[in-house]
Symmetry: C2
Subunit: 431 residues, 2 copies
C-alpha cells in the first residue's frame, strides 16, 4: 500500500507555520490529557492537537479495521500492535481529513469543537507503556571519545565494538516525558584521592543526546528478525535524553555496566514520529569496516538525516545551544540493532523502546554529552550570564530538538525539555 | 495485624503429604488456566489448586476490601498493588477457610466443585507482568569464583564489590514460567585462537541458580526507600534460572555488561511464596566487612534459610543432582538490594522482579552454575548414562527446587524446570 500521507505538495486547512515541525506530512502519534481531563490518543498538525478517539467515534475512520476503543486508551501499545498496514491506513486517512481540499470536517463546526485542541488545552503524557528499554552504544565518535578519556587513546575502541552493535538493558519505570522535572541523584562515588567510597549527591550530572525507536510485536521467543525485515517492526522515533551521573557510573559500572548512574531518570519527546514520515530523509550511513557478520548485512539506505541540537537554559536565564549533531552519524543503524537484539531469539513486543546511544558527530561542537563537549570538564562552556558549565547545574533545563528538512518539507520531533532539581531532601520533599 | 496464617499447628482439611512444599502455612499465589480455559488467580494447598476468583465470587472474602475482579485477572499485579495489609488479610482468610476445624466450604460440595482443581487440570502461567527486571550479583563466592577464573585469583573481587550490591538491568519479555522449553541461542563469539568473531549456536549454555523477589509499588520517582522499610515492599519470592551463554557473554560484555548472553530466556517457578510465609526462616547473613555505607545499614535478621538444589535430566534419562546450595549464603540481602536500587530515586512498581545473582555456597559442591561446578569445563560432571556434562546439552532439562524446613513446618517453592531445545532452524521451526 502506498504511503500517500508523504505527498510533499499537500497543504492542510489547519494553520501551519513554515518552520513548524508538524506539517500535514508529519502526523505523529501521542497521548494527551484534554481540557475535560480525559486521556486520549491524538496527533498534531501545526499547533493544533487532534483527538483521534473523538474522530473515530464520529466515524472518520470508517472502513479501517480498528476496534472501537483503539484510540480511547492511555497508551499507544494496542494501536502499535495493529501493525504497519493499519498505521498507514490511519495516517493516510488523517492526511485526507485535514487536506486543504477536503471540507467535510473543516465545515462541521460542532465536530471541530470536539476534535481540535490548542496546545495550551492539553497535557502530553508518555505515549507508550514501555515494556523493555534497551540502550545501544552505536556512535563510533562517542565510543572513541569515551575510550580516549577513560582508557587508552591508542586503543580507544574495545575489540568487539566494530563487530557488535553493543547494547545493554535499561530501566523502563523511570522514563518520563518532556516537561517532568528530574532530581539530581544521590549515590556512592569513589573520589580520585579517596580510599573508601563516599555518599552524597552526584557532582557530575550529564545529558546524553540520543534518539530512540519504538517497536511493534516482532517475533516469537526463539526466532530472530532478519535485518532486511527489521524496519517493518519499527513504529516510529522520539528524541531521548539518557540522563547520566558520571561519578556514580565510574565507580559502579565494572563489570556489569551502568545502573544507578542512568536509572534515576530518562526523558523522551512526547510525539512519536512514524518511520513512514521519515522515509524522504533516508541516507547512507558511515562505511562499515571490517565488514560485519552476514546477519548484519543490509541493502540500500538504512540511516536517516535528522538534525539534532541541545540547549541549556539556566534558571531564569537564556538558552545556550551547546551542540549540533545529526542522527546520520550513527555507525550501526536501527535495522542492525534490531537484528542483533533478536539474533539469539530474544522477543520484542509492542511498546519496547531502543535508544541509539549518545549521538556524537565528528567535530568537537557536535559531541552528544557535556562529558565530551567539555572534555571531562577541562573546557567549560559559557552561559550568557557569564557562568560556566562543566556538567548540568541544579535549576538548569536541558532541551533537545530534532528535525529533518529538504527543499519541500520539514518533519520535526518537537522537543524533550526537562529541568534538573536539587537532590531529594526527606524532610522537605516527602509527600 | 498479626499473620495468623503462619500458625505451625494448623492442619488443613485438604490432603497434604508430609514432604509437600505447600502445607496450609505456605499459601503461595499464582495464575493458572483452568479446565474451562479460564485464566484465574489461585493458591495451592498440597496438590490441590484453589481458584481464588471463584472463592471471591462466592463470598468467601467478604469483609476484605477487594475489588470484584481482583482475582479474575491474568496477572497478580493489581492484587500486589493492594499492599501488604491486604495480602495478609487474604492469606489469613485462606488459612481459615481451609482449616481442618472449618467445615463451611469443606461440606459445600457444589462450591468445592467450582473452586478446587487437581494439578493435572490446570496449566500454570507467568504469575506477574514483569515491568522491570533487575539482576544482582550478590554472592561473594560466585563473584570470587568468576573473578578467579577470568581475571586475577589474587584480586578476584573488583574494588566496588564489597561496597555496592552490584546489579544490572535484564530483559523482562523473555522471562518464562517453568515448563516452557528454551532454545539454544545463536550469536557472535570470539574463539580463543581466532582473529575475527564467528557466528553460530552457543557452545556453552549454562544455568544460574538464583532466587528472585517480586515487589509492590514502593516509591515515587526521586524518593529512596529506606533499608528498614524495604521488606514492606516485597510481595514474595520465586526460584529463578538465569540461563546464560558463556561464550557469547565473554565476547559481548565489555564495557556495558551481559546482553544477548542472558536475554534469550530466563525462567521462574510459577508460585510466588510470600515473604510473610518465609518469616519463620529468617537468619543472620554473612558478616559484612568493611561496614557498608549508612544507607545500607540494617538491624536484625534480613537473610532467609532456603535450601536449594539443581538437577540435570538428559533426554529420556535420569536426573542427577549437580549442586546443593542455600539462599542464606548471599552476602547482600534483599533489603539492601532494594535500598540500593532506589537510593538514586529510581522508582519501583508492582510486578518488578529482582534476581539475587547466582547463589554459590562455600564448597565446590554448592556452586550455582556449571561454569563454577566444572571449573570452566575442566571437571565434567557424570550423568547416570555415563555421559559427561561441562555445560548443558540439547535435550537436557534443568530443574531447580527450593524449600525451608524447621521442626514444625516445611515451606517450599515447587520447581522451575525447563528443557533446552536445539538452536532455531528457520526452515524447520518457523510457524
Amino acid at each position: 500500500m502506498s504511503d500517500t500521507a508523504n505527498n510533499p505538495n499537500r497543504k492542510s486547512w489547519l494553520p501551519v507555520s513554515p518552520d513548524s515541525d508538524f506539517p500535514i506530512q508529519n502526523i505523529p502519534f501521542g497521548v494527551f490529557l484534554t481540557r475535560d481531563d480525559v486521556i486520549t490518543i491524538g496527533t498534531r498538525i501545526g499547533d493544533t492537537a487532534i483527538d483521534l478517539g473523538a474522530l473515530h467515534q464520529l466515524g472518520y475512520f470508517d472502513g479501517i479495521p480498528l476496534t472501537d476503543d483503539i484510540f480511547l486508551q492511555d497508551t499507544l501499545n494496542d494501536f502499535i500492535s495493529d501493525g504497519k498496514k493499519t498505521w498507514r491506513l490511519v495516517r493516510n486517512r488523517i492526511a485526507e481529513i485535514f487536506d486543504a481540499n477536503n471540507e467535510t470536517l473543516k465545515n462541521h463546526e460542532e465536530h471541530c469543537k470536539i476534535v481540535l485542541f490548542s496546545l495550551d488545552e492539553i497535557e502530553m503524557q508518555l505515549p507508550v507503556q514501555i515494556g523493555d528499554y534497551t540502550d545501544f552504544y552505536s556512535s563510533k565518535e562517542h565510543a572513541t571519545n569515551v575510550g580516549t578519556m577513560f582508557r587508552d587513546p591508542d586503543n580507544a575502541l574495545l575489540p568487539n565494538w566494530l563487530h557488535i552493535p553493543v547494547g545493554y538493558h535499561g530501566r523502563s519505570s523511570s522514563i518520563v516525558p518532556s516537561g517532568i522535572p528530574i532530581r539530581r541523584p544521590k549515590g556512592q562515588t569513589m573520589p580520585a584521592d579517596a580510599k573508601e567510597p563516599v555518599f552524597g549527591p552526584s557532582k557530575l550530572v550529564d545529558f546524553e543526546l540520543e534518539m530512540a525507536f519504538i517497536t511493534t510485536d516482532a517475533n516469537h521467543l526463539g526466532e530472530p528478525i532478519p535485518v532486511e525485515e527489521a524496519e517493518d517492526y519499527i513504529f516510529g522515533m522520539v528524541l531521548f535524553n539518557d540522563w547520566s551521573a558520571r561519578d556514580i557510573q565510574k565507580w559502579e559500572y565494572v563489570p556489569l555496566g551502568p545502573f544507578l548512574a542512568k536509572n534515576f531518570a530518562s526523558s523522551i519527546s512526547p510525539w512519536i514520529v512514524t518511520l513512514d514520515a521519515l522515509q524522504p530523509f533516508k541516507v547512507e550511513g558511515p562505511k562499515q569496516e571490517p565488514e560485519p557478520l552476514p546477519y548484519l548485512h543490509f541493502k540500500g539506505k538504512k540511516s536517516y538525516d535528522i538534525n539534532l541540537e541541545v540547549a541549556i537554559t539556566p534558571e531564569n536565564g537564556e538558552p545556550v545551544t551547546v551542540t549540533k549533531s545529526n542522527f546520520k552519524y550513527m555507525y550501526w543503524n536501527m535495522s542492525q540493532q534490531l537484528a542483533h537484539h533478536t539474533i539469539n531469539g530474544c522477543n520484542v513486543i509492542s511498546g519496547d523502546m531502543m535508544g541509539s546511544g549518545t549521538i556524537s558527530g565528528p567535530t568537537p561542537d557536535s559531541y552528544g554529552s557535556m562529558l565530551e563537549l567539555t572534555w571531562k570538564g577541562e573546557k567549560p562552556i559559557k552561559m550568557k550570564d557569564g557562568s560556566e558549565r562543566k556538567f548540568i547545574n541544579d535549576g538548569d533545563t536541558v532541551t533537545m530538538r530534532g528535525y529533518c528538512k529538504n527543499d519541500k518539507v520539514r518533519i520535526g520531533f518537537g522537543e524533550v525539555s526537562n529541568k534538573l532539581l536539587p537532590p531529594f531532601n526527606p524532610k522537605k520533599n516527602k509527600k
